[in-house]
Symmetry: C3
C-alpha cells in the first residue's frame, strides 16, 4: 500500500514523505520500522515519539514538530488510526449460504446472502436478514430477528423473540435475552416471575465476549443505537441504555436502571436498579451508583491501592470515623473562648 | 381471559369491576391500557397509580383507596403478579425425544418424555430424567444426572458427575462443575491439584446466564434447594449455599465459603473463602465479606459515587486518616485543663 | 493403593504406620475415615487435626506431634496433597481421532494422536498438535494453533490466529481472542478500530470457566508460561501477564496493562489500563490498581463489611472528611500558645 492511500483513508495531510512510498502495515511507535505507519493518540505514548522509526506517524498538529520522521497531520488521530487499521485488516472471503453442519428450522427465514456457520442452530420463525454472518455454534431462538449486516462472531446465544439491529457485532459467549432475575417471595421460597418482555438492540451496537443481557419482565430491555459494551458485562431486565453510551468490562447494571446517552461506565462499575442517570454522565472504574444522577459530569467512588500495612491502618481508622467527628466536636466546644479570633 | 380467571390465579379479591370483563395481558402501571391488568408491588412506582388506565390493579389493601380504577386486593402483590404473569406466559408446545442433530452416547439414559434439543451432546453414562428440557447446544458430561422437570434453556455445560435436582432452571452460558482453582506452589511454579469432588444442586434452583460453579476439591460444592443465582456469578470449589439464598449478578464467592439459608448477596458482592455466614444475613451491593458473620442482619461496605472532584479530595484525605487521628489525640492532650467540664 | 505408594508420590516420610496398609482415597481431616489419607496445609483446619480418624495425615514437621494418627511428614504439604490427589484421580481412557459429529475443515491439521470431541468445529488452517484434547462444542478459529498435550475441556472458543502453548488447560465457556474494546470517537459516534493483533498463551497455563481474553489491537496480548487464571476473568487487549502470576475469580484487567511475574491478583480486583506492575506484587481482593506499582509487596484498597447501620454512618461521615481536616487545622491554630509543649 502507498502512503498516499493511507493518507486518503485518514483525511489528513502528509508532510515530509513521498506519497508514493510503500508501507506494509501499522505498528506502535516503539515497534514500528520504516515499512510501518504509526500513530500518536494517547499522550502516555508521546515518550516513544522521538525515537520512532516509522515511515510516517499520524498525529495532531501540535505534536508534528516533535516528530523525527514524516507525519500525517490529523485533527482526530485516534479516528485516523481506526481508518488505517481498517485498511490493513485482512479481507474475509464473503460467506454465503448455510454450512452443512448447521441446523435451520423449516420455518426460519434466512436471506440468500446471509451466512450460517458450522453447527449453528436457527430455531422456528427466526429471521436472518441480508448480509448477516452467523458464526459457528451460534443459537438463534424462536422468532428472533437479526438485522442486516450484523455479525455474530461465534457461539452467541440470542434467545427467543430478541431483535438485533443492523451492523451489530456480538462476540463469543454473549447471551442476549436470558430471563431477568425476577422472583416473588412466598414465605421463605422464591417463586419465579415469568419474564414476558424481550430485548431490543439498536443499530451499530457492539456486545463483548461473555456479556449477558436479560430480557424484560413485561416491557423490553432496550439498548439504543451505537452503544458499545465490553466483555463480562451484566445487563439486568428492563434496563435502558441510551445511544452511544460505552460500558467497559465487568460492569453490572441492575434491573430497570435507565442510563442516558453518551455516558461511559468504567470497568467494574456497578449501577443499582430502578434509578435514572441523565445523558453525558461518566462513572469511573469500580464505582457504585446507588441513586439517580441528575447532572452531567464525572462521578467516582473507587479507591486505589495503598501498601497493605498502611491500608489496614486506614481501614481500621475508618471504622472509628464517627467517633473522631464526635471528638472533634467536643474539642471545638471545649476550646477556650479567648482562643477564638 | 376474564378478570375472574385472573383473580382466581392471584387468590385475591376483585373490587369495582365486572369479573366477566376480558383482559389480554399484563402491563406496568404507566403503560397499561383498559385491556391490561397491572400491579403495584414496588413503592417506587406508586406515583404512576393515580393516572393508570389499567382494567384492574393488583395491590395491597392499603393502596386500594388511591387507585382510580378497579383493584385486585392481595396481601402479597408481587406473588400475585407472578401468578398472573404465569397465566399470560406463552405455552410452549411440549417437546419429546431427541433432535436429529443431537448426539447422545449409547450409555446415556434419557427418559422417554425428556427433550434433547438441536446439537446437544449427552456423554457416556449421563442420566436425563423425566420431563427434562435440554435446550440447543447443551453439553452433559459423563455420569451427570439431570433431575426431573429441569430446564436447561440453551448452551449450558454440566460437567462430569454433577447432579442437578428437580425443576432446576439453568440459563445459557452457565457452567456447572468446572475444576476448582486449586494449585500448590513448587518454587515459583503452580502445580494443579486434581479436583476430585463434584457439584450437587438441589431442587427448584435457578442459575443465571454465564454463571460458573466449580466442582469441589475432595468433597462436593453444594447448592441447596430453592437457591437463586443471577448472571455472571462465580462460585468457587467446596462452597456451600444454604436453601433459599439469593445472589444478584456479578457476585463472587471464593472457595470453601459456607453461606447460610435465606441470605441475600447484593450485586457485585465478594465473599472471601474459608469463612462462614450464618442464616438470614443480607449483604448489600459491592460489599466485601472478609471474615465470618455470626449474627443475622444487614451488612455493607460499598461506597456510592460523589462528583469526581469531591471524591478525589475525599480519597486523598482518607490516605491521611491515621495522621488525623494522631493530630486529634495531640489536641486532646494539649487542651488546657480548665477547658474540661 | 498402599500407604507406601502414597508416601512415594509425596516424597515425604511415613511415621507410625505400616507402609503396606491399604487406603482407598483422600479426604478432608474432619471427614476422613481409616481408609483415607488426609492432609493439613491450611492452618485454618488445624482444629480438625486432633479428632481426625485418617489412616495417615500429610503435614509439616512442626505439626507432627499434634497428630493422633500416623503422619506423612512433608516440607510442602500442599504440594504433597496435589501429588496424592493426582494418584487418586480417575484415569480417563485415552481418546484418539475425530468424533463423527465434529466438523474439521479440510485445511486444518490434526495430529493423529489428538482428540476432537462431539460437535467441535475446527476451522480452516487450524493446527491441533499431538496429544491435544478438544472437548465437546469447542470452536477453533482459522489458523489457530493448539500446542501439544493441551486440554480444552468443553465449549472453549479459540478465535482466529490465537496460539496456545503446551499442556494448557482451558475450562468451559472461556473465550480467547475476542476483539479488544477499541473505538475512536467521531462526534458522538464510536468507530470500531479493527483489532489486528492476536493472543499468545505460553505453556502450562490454566484458564478458568467463562473467562475472556481479548486479542491485541496491533501487537499481541501475551500470557506467559505457568500463569493461572480463575473463572469469570476479563483480560483486555494488549495486556501482558508475566510467568507464574495467578489471578482469582472476577478479576478485570484493562487494556495494555503490564503485570509482572509471580504476582497474585485477589478475587474481584481491578487493574487499570496502560500501567505497569513489577514482579512479585500481590493485590488483595476487590482492590483497584489505578497507577503503576514499582515496588514488590502487598497492596490493598478493599473495605470489609460492617453492620449496615454503622456503615451508613461511616460513609456519611466520609463525605465530610475534607471538612473535618479543616476543622482540625482550625483547632490547631486556635490552641492557646501555652498549651503547646
Amino acid at each position: 500500500m502507498t502512503l498516499s492511500e493511507v493518507v486518503a483513508a485518514t483525511g489528513g495531510e502528509l508532510r515530509g514523505a513521498d506519497p508514493a512510498a510503500a508501507v506494509t502495515g501499522l505498528a506502535a511507535l516503539q515497534n514500528a520500522g520504516p515499512e510501518h505507519v504509526s500513530f500518536l493518540a494517547n499522550p502516555r505514548y508521546r515518550k516513544y515519539l522521538k525515537t520512532t522509526r516509522a515511515a510516517a506517524v499520524i498525529l495532531a498538529p501540535e505534536n508534528a514538530d516533535s516528530c523525527p520522521v514524516p507525519v500525517i497531520i490529523s485533527l482526530n488521530p485516534q479516528l485516523a488510526y481506526a481508518a488505517v487499521a481498517a485498511l490493513f485488516a485482512p479481507r474475509e472471503p464473503r460467506h454465503l449460504g448455510i454450512h452443512p453442519t448447521a441446523w435451520v428450522s423449516d420455518t426460519a427465514e434466512v436471506a440468500t446472502d446471509a451466512w450460517i456457520g458450522p453447527q449453528a442452530a436457527i430455531e422456528d420463525g427466526a429471521v436472518i436478514e441480508g448480509g448477516v454472518f452467523v458464526g459457528p455454534h451460534c443459537v438463534i431462538g424462536k422468532g428472533a430477528v437479526i438485522g442486516a449486516q450484523t455479525r455474530l462472531v461465534a457461539r452467541v446465544t440470542v434467545c427467543h423473540g430478541v431483535r438485533l439491529g443492523r451492523r451489530v457485532v456480538v462476540h463469543p459467549g454473549a447471551v442476549i435475552g436470558s430471563d431477568g432475575f425476577g422472583f416473588a417471595k412466598d414465605g421463605q421460597r422464591w417463586i419465579k416471575i415469568p419474564q414476558l418482555g424481550s430485548v431490543r438492540i439498536g443499530d451499530d451496537v457492539e456486545i463483548g465476549a461473555n456479556t449477558s443481557i436479560d430480557r424484560g419482565a413485561l416491557e423490553d430491555t432496550v439498548i439504543e443505537d451505537g452503544v458499545i459494551l465490553d466483555n463480562q458485562i451484566q445487563v439486568g431486565h428492563n434496563v435502558f441504555i441510551g445511544a452511544h453510551t460505552a460500558a467497559a468490562g465487568c460492569v453490572g447494571i441492575c434491573g430497570s436502571a435507565r442510563i442516558g446517552r453518551r455516558c461511559s461506565l468504567g470497568g467494574g462499575a456497578g449501577i443499582n436498579g430502578h434509578l435514572e442517570i441523565v445523558d453525558d454522565v461518566h462513572i469511573t472504574g469500580m464505582s457504585m451508583v446507588s441513586n439517580s444522577i441528575t447532572e452531567p459530569g464525572v462521578y467516582s467512588s473507587g479507591l486505589s491501592v495503598e501498601p497493605n500495612r498502611l491500608w489496614n491502618k486506614i481501614s481500621a481508622r475508618l471504622r472509628r470515623l464517627d467517633e473522631l467527628f464526635k471528638r472533634v466536636s467536643a474539642l471545638e466546644k471545649k476550646m477556650p473562648k479567648d482562643a477564638l479570633d
